[in-house]
């Protein structure tokens, strides 16, 4: 069976560690990046099923990162998370075609369900197009 993989992007070490440990414990291949530039570098080097990124980060925010991912890797779904939710960033996220927008503090089980559902849906879609 295909090993699921996720790239977690957050400038907060605590969140990165929490999510890294959780997804690893669920059997996911997990990569982490502390900023957008590092995230793009990782995406160029390995295959990732989904990107889970914070919005507010120094140098490159999650919305800019999403735009760049959509240009270079248009098929990778992106879930954004933020501790500073606003209508403006939610609308920008919608326009960037992210698959979800999650507010912090989040329930990690619920966040996992969102990510898992997206990746499953992509897998189903992929299987259907392969048939």
């Amino acid at each position: 069976m295909h090993e699921r993989s996720i790239l977690i992007v957050d400038d907060e070490l605590l969140i990165r560690d929490l999510l890294y440990d959780y997804f690893n414990s669920q059997g996911w291949k997990t990569a982490i990046a502390e900023n957008g530039e590092k995230a793009l570098q990782i995406l160029d080097e390995r295959e990732v099923d989904l990107v889970l990124s914070d919005i507010r980060m120094p140098t490159m925010d999650g919305l800019v990162l999403t735009e760049q991912i959509k240009e270079s890797h248009p098929d990778i779904p992106v879930v954004l998370m933020t501790g500073y939710p606003s209508v403006e960033t939610a609308v920008s996220a919608l326009r960037s075609r992210v698959v979800d927008y999650v507010t912090k503090p989040f329930n990690i089980n619920q966040l996992y369900k969102i990510v898992e559902a997206q990746v499953s849906s992509e897998e189903d879609h992929q299987e259907n197009s392969d048939e």
Binding site: P85, S86, V87, A90, V91, A93, L94, R95, V98, D100, Y101, T103
Partner: protein, 152 residues
């Protein structure tokens, strides 16, 4: 109407705004149809076999019709653009999860409308008809006050 026409549905209880939007879309060279009440929306979804490229839907209608509307939009490949007067973060997250193409917050200007239509048609691989009109800065009496690089 022929199959190359761009059809736009406006489902909105605000009659004046619906009329203005339809007038604007018509002036841009598109076929537009305005429906002001939920019953008419149900009729269109239930029995109108016309293919709409995009539907501008007031959020009140969107939340009321929800599943039916999205089944219809999937069947006819119609992109849905929601219009809202006072959105909250939660309502925007809801429409994002529903899969709407865009969310316009009132008051919006004609540039925003043009951009949305252009983005939808670009995604569908159709050329926008109002390019020339935008470059002149006016569309049949509407002061577009255009940004020329918006539409390709």
């Amino acid at each position: 109407m022929n199959e190359n026409d761009v059809n736009i549905l406006v489902a909105n209880p605000q009659v004046d705004e619906t009329e203005n939007l339809c007038r604007y879309f018509t002036a841009m060279g598109y076929c537009s149809f305005g429906i002001p009440d939920i019953k008419s929306v149900e009729t269109v979804i239930g029995s109108d076999t016309r293919r709409y490229d995009l539907a501008f839907v007031d959020c009140e209608f969107l939340f009321e019709m929800n599943d039916k509307l999205f089944q219809w939009s999937e069947e006819y490949s119609t992109e849905i653009v929601v219009m809202s007067s006072s959105p909250t973060v939660e309502s925007v997250i809801n429409v994002l999860r529903m899969g709407v193409f865009d969310c316009l917050i009132r008051p919006f200007d004609l540039h925003e409308l043009s951009r949305v239509v252009a983005r939808v048609l670009e995604r569908k691989g159709q050329r926008t008809r109002h390019t020339v009109c935008l470059n002149t800065g006016k569309i049949d009496g509407f002061d577009v006050n255009c940004n020329k690089e918006v539409v390709s």
